[in-house]
């Protein structure tokens, strides 16, 4: 169901009509107890692995050419969360990334800027200052990223710190240990608490699908995160292999589509990790277009978490405009 049931749902991103911790109608009572929540999540339709992978593969054969390709490349650039998440990150590195984010192609001013710069929380203020006066947002990973193995108090402090440093968006990780142990309500409560700690910042909930392994788990975790109030659901940290895959994205797109049809609330999707080429990015846009629908084809609802992808998009963009490949020296090394 790709139509918007609630016309205000698009404006109301991030805000919730109900009290924090209460899922939207008609699911308000599914978290009343651990058993009830488990019954709800396990009552979602299963995902047939073979069928989901075939569908993703068939959509991967779409041939996007000429004008459609030009549109897709610019759209993909505007959806990039340009990311650096290394132990070796420095203010200098973040500033250079921010410069690239605001003007990806210095040789071509018609090139759109990216959606956000994604960094560790302690560097959010550097990014914030470097991006002042632009629409590029600052996203910070938090909650003991990437493993999420810390006490809740530490995780919440991590979030508050990142928000205080100027993060517009928080990328949290769920407690995969609790999820795999079947303690769904614990995972839910933690997301609710993080959402509260975020204040005005948007919350992206990283499921780390590479550790959830099955598509049934991916679907359940997606619903769990959406019910808990996540503004976006995100596939991976990029630190675990496999990171995002097309079938995982397909299952998560079905989840955001079905969730909006049922509740009227639209949730965004961010695949992250492993998306390196223009071809990969375009396959993702096709998947969005033909699964959740065109309503998700904007940076408000779909992001691509990536680092090296941007340069390939820029090279393909130049190729499309000039008719020849310019070579790697025509895009900046970050």
């Amino acid at each position: 169901m790709t139509h918007v049931l609630d016309p205000n749902a698009l404006d109301g991103a991030g805000s919730q009509d109900t009290a924090p911790g209460t899922p939207p109608e008609p699911f308000a009572d599914v978290t009343r107890s651990g058993d009830a929540f488990r019954a709800f999540l396990h009552g979602l339709p299963g995902v047939d692995q073979v069928g989901a992978e075939i569908r993703a593969k068939v959509l991967g054969t779409r041939s996007i050419k000429t004008t459609a390709k030009a549109w897709a490349i610019d759209t993909a650039i505007s959806m990039v969360d340009l990311t650096t998440l290394e132990g070796a990150d420095t203010p200098g590195k973040v500033r250079s990334l921010a410069a690239k984010a605001r003007r990806p192609d210095p040789e071509d001013l018609t090139c759109p800027s990216v959606a956000a710069v994604c960094v560790y929380g302690d560097l959010a203020d550097v990014a914030k200052r470097a991006l002042e006066g632009t629409d590029v947002r600052v996203a910070a990973v938090a909650t003991a990223f990437p493993s999420g193995r810390a006490s809740r108090a530490v995780k919440l402090a991590d979030v508050r710190d990142a928000v205080a440093n100027g993060a517009d968006e928080i990328d949290m990780v769920i407690d995969r240990g609790a999820f795999l142990a079947g303690r769904y309500l614990d995972v839910f409560d933690e997301i609710v608490a993080v959402k509260e700690a975020c204040g005005p910042a948007h919350l992206k909930v990283i499921l780390e699908t590479g550790e959830l392994v099955t598509y049934d788990n991916v679907r359940r975790a997606s619903w769990l995160a959406m019910l808990a109030g996540g503004d976006f659901i995100k596939t991976s940290t990029g630190k675990i292999s496999p990171a995002s895959t097309l079938p995982v994205c397909l299952v998560m797109l079905e989840a955001v589509r079905d969730f909006r049809a049922a509740t009227g609330r639209q949730v965004g999707l961010k695949p992250a990790g492993g998306i390196r080429t223009t071809k990969d990015a375009i396959k993702h846009l096709v998947l969005v277009n033909e699964t959740a629908g065109a309503d998700w084809l904007s940076p408000d609802w779909f992001r691509l978490g990536a680092s090296s992808l941007l340069n390939d998009l820029l090279l393909q963009r130049q190729k499309l405009r000039t008719g020849h490949y310019s070579g790697p020296d025509h895009v900046s090394v970050d």
Partner: protein, 480 residues
């Protein structure tokens, strides 16, 4: 309908294939003129005439059968099985090398989307030759007795829905088991068979082993009735199948028939809904529904009927209908004006009988033969659209309440070619498939094919099996 992300046309180039203005018959290793009339073959997506081909006369058929007999007696029959295998491997490789050419020509002549001819028909055809090439020198191990012997000359008549693939299903097992063939392609889709004749030349296949005689119903009748044909293999309508069975009755000829179907696709309430919807779409809209094993009757458990139907309609709304050569096309053209008339007639009868017709909003090209994907709800088991084979993109939706009812309704058909079951419960899959009277039963998938898997029907869907070890038996002496 405009959308944010409009895919620009992405047509496959047709310049890769060289369509000659006219074709003769391929007899005894050479293209020769026919003694009868000619007919035109058109591109069903544009009604443009592609080429003129010969209509094989009785005399032409006789010449082809004699060539096949000679080749069987002198060359192909006595040949070392390993050497026969080499020819088949060579043909399989040539099909792969020339895959794009075959795919484009198939889409031009048949109307099917290039995505299907490229990713399904041609690779599957090559796979059938590879599979059977491997059998050629291992027939002793097929469980069909020691040193099984070929039958002789096979007369084969194939349909227009998968012209190249049906050719492979017929020719590959016949040749691997040491038979020679005379094949008549369908009247509306002769071109890939004629391109295959070129491949036979390219592979240096001895003359007469494969003969291609184009034509219409009379040509087929002459072939089937020819006294020197040892084996008749037919894929097509049940009506023609009956006529062939009558014509062969009382002779020594062996016969396999692969005929129509009206398959049930059963969706239980615990099914993986998104994949089931994909399977329903693939079951009935694959190849415009021109599939004998199409899942044309959707049996959905009443408790999930509304949910499945809503998902199905949304999904059908995303199907892309149009130019078969565009790489993004999902649904191509109906193969012929005649078939379009039949689909229209049966759909109108469906409405007249009280079923509800649903079609997505879509723009169809002005020229050519087109029919939008169609779903009938409120269908009763007594309606003709629930019983007759439409052979088009038309789905009838029925409901059931219990597993017993599902099985009873699924089996309540004069056909029995295929069926599908959708449930997350493994034990239910085993219990249900055991009770379905259909030659192929798919579980949580539909329209999957493999050369190792035998294919064929129950009841009016025909007899005999094609593919796998069982398929070899149809071309070997003895009671198997």
């Amino acid at each position: 309908m405009t959308s944010l992300f409009e895919y620009a046309p992405a047509p496959e180039s047709r310049s890769i294939v060289d369509v000659r203005p006219s074709y003769g018959l391929f007899v005894d290793g050479e293209f020769t003129d026919g003694t009868g009339s000619t007919m035109k073959t058109v591109n069903p997506a544009t009604e443009e005439v592609l080429s003129e081909v010969a209509v094989g006369s009785g005399e032409d058929v006789d010449r082809a059968v004699r060539a096949a007999r000679r080749a069987f007696t002198r060359v192909w029959g006595p040949m070392r099985p390993a050497d026969r295998g080499k020819y088949l491997f060579r043909i399989a490789r040539l099909l792969q090398e020339r895959a794009r050419e075959f795919a484009v020509l198939e889409s031009l002549d048949n109307g099917k989307p290039i995505r299907e001819s490229r990713d399904f028909d041609v690779p599957q055809a090559a796979a059938h030759f590879f599979h059977h090439a491997g059998w050629a020198d291992k027939l002793d191990h097929a469980g069909l007795g020691p040193a099984p012997r070929p039958l002789g000359v096979a007369g084969q008549v194939i349909p227009w829905n998968f012209p190249m693939l049906m050719l492979a299903w017929k020719i590959a097992p016949a040749l691997a088991t040491g038979n020679t063939v005379v094949l008549k392609p369908a009247e509306t889709t002769p071109l890939t068979a004629l391109l295959f004749a070129e491949v036979c030349q390219q592979a240096d296949l001895p003359p007469g082993v494969v003969n291609i005689v184009t034509g219409a119903g009379d040509t087929g009748r002459s072939l089937v009735a020819h006294p020197d044909v040892d084996k008749v293999a037919f894929t097509g309508s049940t009506e023609v199948g009956r006529e062939i069975a009558r014509s062969v009755a009382g002779t020594q000829k062996r016969l396999t028939l692969e005929l129509g179907g009206k398959a049930a696709n059963i969706v239980f309430d615990d099914a993986p809904i998104d994949q089931a919807v994909e399977g329903i779409v693939r079951g009935i809209f694959f190849n415009q529904g021109h599939v004998c094993c199409a899942g044309s009757r959707l049996l959905v458990q009443e408790s999930v009927h509304d949910e499945v139907l809503a998902s199905l309609q949304r999904r059908i709304g995303t199907l892309r209908i149009g130019d078969p050569l565009d790489k993004n096309t999902d649904i191509g053209a109906i193969n012929s004006a005649e078939q379009l008339v039949r689909i229209r007639e049966l759909s109108e009868i469906g409405e007249a009988e009280g079923a509800q017709r649903w079609q997505p909003e879509c723009t169809l090209p002005d020229r050519g033969y087109w029919f939008p994907p169609t779903v009938f709800t409120d269908v009763s088991a007594a309606h003709r659209i629930a019983r007759d084979e439409v052979f088009g993109p038309v789905l009838s939706v029925l409901t059931f309440r219990t597993p017993d009812e599902a099985v009873a309704k699924a089996n309540n058909t004069t056909y029995g070619l295929s069926a599908g079951v959708w449930t997350e419960k493994g034990s239910r899959i085993l219990a249900i498939t055991d009770r379905l009277r259909a030659g192929v039963v798919w579980a949580n998938t539909f329209n999957e094919f493999d050369p190792t898997s035998p294919f064929g029907g129950y009841k009016q869907s025909g007899y005999g099996r094609e593919g796998g070890r069982q398929g070899l038996a149809a071309y070997l002496q003895g009671d198997h």
